[in-house]
Assembly symmetry: D2
Homo-oligomer: 344 residues x 4
């Protein structure tokens, strides 16, 4: 349940206000060079506190290598990365114990786990765990760098390159304006993120249930606040004619004239740019006063959500989306034997 992947397999753990969050990565090929410095740029991109609209909670986010790395290389044994939680103000949450915050997992988690859940800052349901996803994603990205560049990858001369960006915030393509809407409204706001991958070979993905879209869809919905995913033309495809939507194949590497398919046909990558988008809901912890049920009194009451939060969680999602995408692709590349189990 907290694990995912077939060969490159991750197991995530931890809570927002517990001692730590972390991840175990099994099946990573031996011989991949890894140093703390490799992790810092992406971890920095994920961090809140430096942009308008992100949480003032500041964690150092230095990965602690607990296993699987020796002499700065992966050993082939499971890699464990730990992130300590230091900058914690749990008292904010303990007061709110009986007032489940709207939009959060508080209520459902209490029902599911019979009140045993760590409720502080959403506990295991917190976005805090995405730091571990980003870390695993960095390893996956490095692995993808070991894939052979080949004529099979028409889109960009070979090297696999993943990049995500914010398409809009609060219906605004001008992100600054979108964010200002939220600031002005003293409210949180949602956004749309796009991910593009170039340099993929033809044929990643497994019929029937492990299609490339299935695996990406699966892992993307593990990111908190994701409400939808679409590939290529996505929902717009539902309004199109077949003759408009179909992409004409133009050469033996599979290059198509258009890319409505977003790089996946029949569940398999087709060698064109992989393109998909996800919808991020507005941060549940809005500064606005809301109503909810008090678990003890069983009465509806007003609640102002305390704690330190992002006004627009979408701002932090691009690097997380790249990470989970890299994780899926690394696993599929291993399945296709396009990354070796010992790197040299």
């Amino acid at each position: 349940m907290n694990s995912f992947g077939r060969i490159f397999r991750i197991s995530i753990f931890g809570e927002s206000h517990g001692e730590s969050v972390g991840i175990v990565i099994d099946g990573c090929p031996a011989g991949l060079s890894l140093a703390v410095e490799d992790f810092l740029p992406d971890l920095e991109r994920r961090k809140g506190g430096t942009q308008k609209g992100t949480t003032p909670r500041q964690e150092e986010d230095i990965p602690i290598f607990k296993s699987g790395i020796f002499n700065n290389r992966t050993t082939g044994a499971p890699i464990t990365l730990l992130f300590e939680n230091k900058n914690i103000r749990s008292s904010d949450y303990e007061k709110q114990r009986d007032v489940p915050r709207p939009g959060h997992a508080d209520f459902v988690a209490r029902k599911k786990f019979g009140g045993n859940e760590d409720y502080r800052g959403s506990g295991h349901f917190s976005g805090r765990l995405t730091v571990a996803l980003v870390a695993a994603g960095i390893i996956a990205k490095k692995l993808l760098g070991h894939a052979p560049t080949s004529p099979q990858t028409p889109s960009q001369g070979g090297e696999i390159k993943i990049s995500s960006s914010i398409l809009e915030i609060g219906a605004e393509k001008d992100l600054e304006k979108g964010l200002q809407k939220a600031v002005d409204a003293k409210d949180s706001i949602g956004g749309i993120i796009e991910c593009r991958v170039n340099g993929l070979p033809v044929g990643l993905g497994e019929p029937f249930f492990d299609s490339a879209e299935s695996l990406l869809g699966h892992i993307v919905f593990a990111i908190p606040a994701v409400r939808g995913i679409e590939f290529g033309t996505g929902f717009a495809a539902a309004k199109m004619f077949g003759s408009q939507h179909n992409d004409a194949i133009e050469n033996m590497q599979g290059k198509t004239r258009t890319n409505h398919a977003g790089g996946i046909v029949g569940g398999l990558t087709n060698g064109n740019e992989l393109v998909f988008r996800i919808a991020i809901k507005p941060t549940s912890s809005t500064p606005k006063e809301q109503t909810t049920l008090n678990w003890e009194t069983e009465k509806v009451e007003k609640v102002s959500v305390k704690g330190r939060h992002d006004l627009c969680i979408a701002l932090r999602v691009p690097v997380i989306l790249e990470a989970v995408t890299a994780i899926i692709l690394a696993d599929l590349m291993l399945m296709e034997q396009k990354i070796k189990r010992v790197l040299t």
Copy 2:
């Protein structure tokens, strides 16, 4: 890869123009009554050939019980259901071998499997396999009928009820008109399908990777032609403020005033109606002439896709969407021990 599920686990097999398609269902509780008649209504809903816009290919679609059923009850051993392919005209496809049809898996499958794939009528990538999904879905639906109705299920007095419908065809909410657009244009067309489930308990879904959305997202993209999925307000959530989007909890069963979340919070069902939509692309096999690459000559040429096809594959998807939804929910209910392993 061709299997899915943790306890209620399905393994699919078969090809469009092979001898048969079928499914093995492992982990189904013993004691569920099952007769061929149980399968007919949903199989009939899935069938083409009776509606404008669906394929004239007609299969009988009578499930053959090969294992796991004895004296009209499930035994607890794996259930195997087989559907024979009788109404086959493979010659249509053999001529097209070297002309990969745009929008189909022909090209990528040939690359991935080195030319060994069964290319007739998309082979293992065919929508024909969804007959097996529908069959497994019928068993899953029957299982869900054995879940206890409880005060925890506020939405509809208990009984779990899944229903899917077409929201629009070709951007038209009037389905008849949408379909007529395609007929007039002599082209295929896409559509949007919605699924709603009532009567679910609070707490289905497993953090972190087996959230309810993750599992539904995973299986939904196994259905051919799906290009996107969104839960509750979905992509529209990205344009909303948090105070608009959050659903206020109103009673101890978790009922919320609004249902923007679509019945899932923190990856867990929250006891409200589960609501999600999927986008279906226009059938790849459009009657319109298109261009593609000839595998042998390596030149682009014109192609008219022969064979018997649906003008609007979306017409046949609702029952398939119900089926895969039921499959996921049955597995999650077993995980939560809300369905017993021996039914009485």
Copy 3:
């Protein structure tokens, strides 16, 4: 539960007196040539009825290809093989419904499945299902033939070769004598089977839980009647000193002077001959009268087990043991990327 394997993954189904038994094989590389004739020699070895001490039940045991094979080659899609049950005399068993046969699963299956189990001839618990294992094993053996021969495989010049034989029957190394003991005593009898594999590369097996012994141990106990497994010196190792037991490495291919380890060290193959033995209990269906409990009267009574049975089931096990061994090794070779996913 009824599936096993990571890449080369099998799902078994069927009952002794149901319509059929069969197996779905997922993850088999594309391009492997396969014809019915490939299956006949091993299926013949498994069959009862031709040797003294085996059952007079005669099935044709011709595999029916239901999916995954096209133009006599594997396609990369799941392979389904079916064996029909024709030579059935279920009436033998129906009379015995309330008298669980000692040593058989009758009693425990009835408890576990609440009386819904197919009880005829042990149903899903029958040795009849091993026909499907043998069939999957044949495919696995053919796959192993596609592994590169290499200097890494010191033991036999490269080619992987699996062979099993009976070491003793009823404590007798002279098998004929051992069997005669049973005939004379009008009783069933057990035996010991050994499996040897040559030509394996160094390094098959995955730490921690997927050691070569773990995977072999797992699958071997799926064969009915197996009561123990030991590798190399096995139980005798418990009586030895370390200096006696350790095998001295003699060359860079890992060849050792002795082979007490049986070809596995640290859970990984070491390039020497893989050697292990399993213990087979006497057939539970002995001709001797026994006592058991009557489920209806709840009283102990005498029972004579009717039906057609093997006096010494061990006689039929060697080919089954080879099959499951091949299945595990094929999966491990795929994990190590020593067999390609498309064969040429």
Copy 4:
């Protein structure tokens, strides 16, 4: 590969001379009380250094709770337990880098992982990791204490009780004498361990591949130094007649007059005492001088294995065997819904 289990699922990591070893336990029901003190007795039993014949290496072995435990109860989220390695003398091993120790994984690991493996003290292949198994086993044992006692469990009035003991050392049933043989010979020595479980319900285990023996066999061979496993009469069964071996059922709870089956029939527990034995080879690190190959010179040379080792590793195995047995049984009890997912 480093994970095991279906619902109660463990992922192990770490190296002998790395920073730590640990385990992530997913799927543990919420509400189980857990304190450091619960772990100490079994961890103490596993520890070397206090008995004749065990290693002088002394680790504190206090589990550090990293996730999944809150207010002394399991939360339902993954539990992470860490054991720090403090008492390390890696220099012993670094000198031996090019001299693979006979009987150890040194040679095969270097081949498999291309020289990237952590070779210090066997790295990830070390018996040190069993501390994490014991810790997970303690949680599993506590879970089993939450199973209902029932008339279905004839063997001991209900409560599930697991106990392992050493049957013999160096072919001696007098353990003291067996150990003295090794001390006198200045050599290491093997032994046989038995495990007995009382209070199990009828029906644990899943056909076909997840039989109770298959799962136990799988996990038992993950314990370093295990060379064989047998259930009930085990290898002796191969020498018996069926009428001798079969256990006559005597009452409706499944109690049998004899217990040659060792409590498992048809892969399912039958309500009688579960009995099985494993063979432990002599510690590979014998004080005796041996010959091996030098990786650099490619010549055979003499080697004296330095480091701190157990003369008889079997002495430390009973508590590990109990642990892995408890892990399997907890998972099977959850599969059978005999342990709830939220404990109260």
